[in-house]
Symmetry: D2
Subunit: 362 residues, 4 copies
């Protein structure tokens, strides 16, 4: 069983390679009657697309999405929604030299070991270009969540290399995020991040960082016991994004040094609504949402492709030295923001529908 | 669709509440002909069971497993393996007082919101007792991995509260882990951890920490593109363990402050085998194993139940003060070690079988 | 991926061999709050159990079901319901002689080819004893359907060998079915069937036949486009019953000789409710229920085990002659009736919950 | 969970409406390295496409397939294969009049009840046009089966209305099937069938019939115990084809009037290979293939759209009289032949891969 699909009731199946005809997704389980336009989906793709600013890759791909099915008169019909994003700017020759090299930090070696063949140009299925399909489908999930439950998902760049935002998630001014090209809600810090990214690119190197995500409006009760806990499915979704190396929810790793009396969030009665005082738990207890904001963070490693000379081996195991070619992001964080949001939306839409089933007899 | 099952080809379906007749699992997909005894499964359960040392809960539950199907003459038949662990030490009266309280850090509130009813005694399905089913099934996964691929999975306690092991994963002396009751491979640090846990319990409080896991012997090629990446499934499995709040693989969150030139692990030719120099990647690139050791860490929050007085609200939203009753672990870390191993084994066994399918035509 | 599970939202996972500790099932997805008692489940098992009349096998197995989880105070909790039926009357020695023979019409040969091993006694997993698990889980599905939607499922024996009931399904007097041991609603025909079965057993031979099933109360709208059509899932469920060789819905095979003008059922307005005149379609159009009664038939081959001398080969391919041992039904039809009902209930409960999801936004 | 996908290891997910941009499928799980060309897929589509002969609908749709992913240099890469067939000949105005009528025998009413909306033109998702996606994916399944296991799948028209082929399946001259437009292997009978279909169309009426399918080369061991029996999955696949009303394997319904001594197929040793004498079992015992040819039949009702005047009701429940418009087949049987083959291929390819997993430890 391949792993190109995700979700149970709200389910995305993806396809496509970076340098074939295109990438896309089929979305099953979207209820009928949801208003959705091509432009709404395109908006999210534009946030992810290459070439959008001076700190992202200079590849120019319009990433125009076509809705092949499941939508009639800008409204879903309840049948599968197929989305196609054709590839356009394919400079395969950029990759010719790379065909025989196992690039460090890339999937060249592992795909070769797994399949015995390798779709060299652009990394084939291992390319981050495949995330465009998730972002397109995620746009529909976002719309469903907003329209039916008032759920709002917002991610931002929390750190780039050593530069870290110290504002807590719930205190972030989300209106600032899209005001700068690095998508950090603190304008001053954002400027520093941009400068650092530009300098690092000039140095032929790359940077990693952390994306933080805040979800408001999730009602209590989403998530399923034992394995499909809300945080478990979020963790899977986030580790399924290219270059991610970690996930934490609420207090996360830092919370492990607190004691229980410090960490527990007492329940309180806020004008008839039961909430918690504090949110170390990050909006989930026992795998199920509490109604408090869901807060999580995702770690991204520095981009593997760098312009400096690196050592590695070729397909025959001979040592080689090479420089990265192709046009890559010196730091994936700004473009990772809409991907994190899209993946979160896919997880949450699935659990929203699942809770409808659980509550069927109530 | 409920979330009580996990895995695609090697699939566990769990059942049972902490204070009903018992807990258990049905394991589908285990190939025929694997030698397995009740004692091998019992061994892993004994590592997880309550009452095993002075720093774990004093509940005494033998946790004896019965194999109901799928094994004949100590060998698997290829049909579903049902495992049943009957509950014995059920002091429900310990929980009577708790029935009307939403305990901070527990799933009382979220289960009530989700189901509209709540199986109060022992937390019902939200109890960590349900992990016994995973540990039992995981024992079979471990055996399959060891026998067929020589895979060895070993976890240990890396930190308890502020006390942290600084030895790198690959340098750990795994023979030391089971030599102390806290399951930390550094004897001196282990003694400090035990002392801290005992003191914290006396103080009516609790501790969290980090478990690290090292898996040797995974061949290159396990993991599936896009969503079912090896690290994505590991992340889900780990966040599905009670009280876990974070997961990281390889360099994890710390690696986000490195540059690409520092972080990339060059491929080298080691006597005909292609390996990497360094293991920031943690054994996985592009979602697929490289053949290097798989290394990951899991964050566990401090135990929610503490003996000190806490504030919260009752079912009617009235403020209450209460003390935790029942017999709980002041620190779940030592008992989390076999659970982390079991969940890792379930993920890896599933991907091992999936790779057999992928390689069908080669 | 093994095939021991069935259903998507309302999902049964079965386990157990005929001569191991027991057989059972885990039922995921049953909503919380459904009233159900052990006695209600036991009632259906008693309709299926061996030894219930002179025309069924004389094996005496009480088939007592134990509810291991998911039910508290005779009400479902929404968590997995595990059901265990321990084996008791195991005369393995009846089968010793058979161990080396590939019995005609049995799964001995195919299991050997598939697994390379064979659980000889009682047929292991291929035994019809495994249907007890489906019947137990089906009892819960039946209750859910009746309580929530008023759905009533009733099957009966339509033919035994050459003896066939000519009454149309909707004209059958269902109150007569359980009044005779062959479960045919026509008392006179039932008496002939009993006599034929007894005579055939004396002759050392066996009989097949057809079970018909009528489901009233299914609302319009159940069933999913393309592959999970209601009739497709019913067909799968029925062909998954031991000894079944065919399925037809509505007009079935006989309807293929009609013309469209004869076969089409016109829609009519019956006091504000849209129905059809006639029911050639059998309650399903385009894979989705119309609100008319669902009517289908299942063909069962004659029992493979017979007391007469038969020819075959042994494990080494040598020709052998042998007589069937063990205590088997000369005609499986009467005991197939509750199994057909249970499988239909599992399919319908699943689709009932699925339609709740589809209608989520309406 | 929607029902637009089918299969577990070799899995098709379909999308598309009859009058939207197009229809298509994503195929997951096809192993890497299978040679496949666009022309091979197109060949099967051409056998299914409208307008291919005087007895099929006169709609002209070229049904040209585009491979969007998963194939590089005419060889599969192991990643999802997306197939797109754009719609071209859309005369929606043919259907305007139909928009307000619940046509007898069609899915108009049930889709309206299910979704609350209806994609009128061409029947939307209920149109048989969606089978083009299955045929395209099935072409790849056929190639995989032929290349890896030597499996050959061949279906033909066994009956049209009252005209029935009496030749047994194994005696059919399959070279004759594609020699006539009705796809019946008996030339004389085929001519009668063609004449009957033409006359029936002139009469403003339609016909049903039976397709028979013979699969040679399936090795012993395919099929999974309990629910995913080979015949159960075949039954589901066949009842998932538009207009099908029944399925039977081997002796089927007729076999129910035989006795066990007549029906059992004795095992024999044929030059070292164990086979059966006779094939009442149809190639499957206990849900698992025996190595004998797999033989099954599928019943198709007469086409629901006819040119004669029919009665029905409109959306408001008012009685109406109307004539069928659009260009439809007076008998779907000839075009159903490649669809039956394709669906069988999808089932068999899935089970072929599943058996690879089961045999992993052998």
């Amino acid at each position: 069983m391949a792993g190109d699909s995700f979700g149970s009731l709200f389910r995305i199946s993806t396809f496509g390679e970076s340098h074939g005809p295109g990438v896309g997704a089929v979305l099953e389980g979207c209820p009928p009657g949801l208003p959705i336009t091509q432009a709404e989906i395109q908006h999210e793709l534009d946030r992810r697309r290459p070439g959008q600013s001076k700190i992202s890759t200079q590849r120019q791909e319009p990433d125009t999405v076509e809705i092949l099915s499941g939508v009639l008169n800008d409204s879903t019909t309840g049948t599968p929604i197929a989305l196609l994003i054709r590839n356009t700017d394919q400079r395969s020759h950029d990759y010719d030299e790379m065909a025989a090299i196992y690039r460090p930090g890339h999937a060249d070696f592992t795909y070769q070991m797994k399949y015995g063949i390798r779709d060299v140009a652009g990394g084939g299925r291992s390319s981050a270009r495949t995330t465009a399909a998730s972002v397109a489908a995620g746009a529909i999930a976002k719309k469903l969540l907003a329209q039916q439950w008032g759920v709002q998902i917002q991610a931002w760049v929390k750190s780039v290399g050593p530069l870290q935002l110290t504002t807590t998630a719930e205190a972030v001014d989300v209106s600032q995020i899209e005001q700068n090209i690095v998508r950090c809600p603190d304008p001053a810090l954002a400027a520093q991040m941009v400068a650092l990214i530009e300098q690092t690119r000039k140095d032929g190197d790359s940077l990693g960082g952390v994306v933080e995500c805040l979800v408001r409006g999730v009602p209590a009760g989403w998530g399923e016991p034992i394995f499909d806990r809300l945080e478990a499915d979020l963790a899977k979704a986030m580790l399924a994004i290219n270059a991610s190396k970690g996930f934490e929810i609420g207090s996360g790793f830092a919370g492990t040094s607190l004691t229980g009396s410090q960490h527990n969030d007492p329940f309180i009665n806020d004008a008839g609504i039961i909430k918690t005082q504090g949110n170390h738990h990050g909006g989930v207890l026992g795998g199920i949402s509490t109604g408090m904001p869901v807060i999580f963070r995702v770690a991204f490693k520095p981009t593997a492709t760098i312009a400096s000379v690196q050592k590695s081996v070729d397909l025959h195991g001979n040592p080689v030295e090479f420089r990265g070619r192709g046009r890559h992001d010196p730091c994936v964080l700004p473009r990772a923001v809409p991907i994190v949001e899209a993946m979160a939306a896919l997880v949450l839409a699935d659990h929203a529908l699942r809770q409808r089933v659980t509550s069927a007899l109530r």
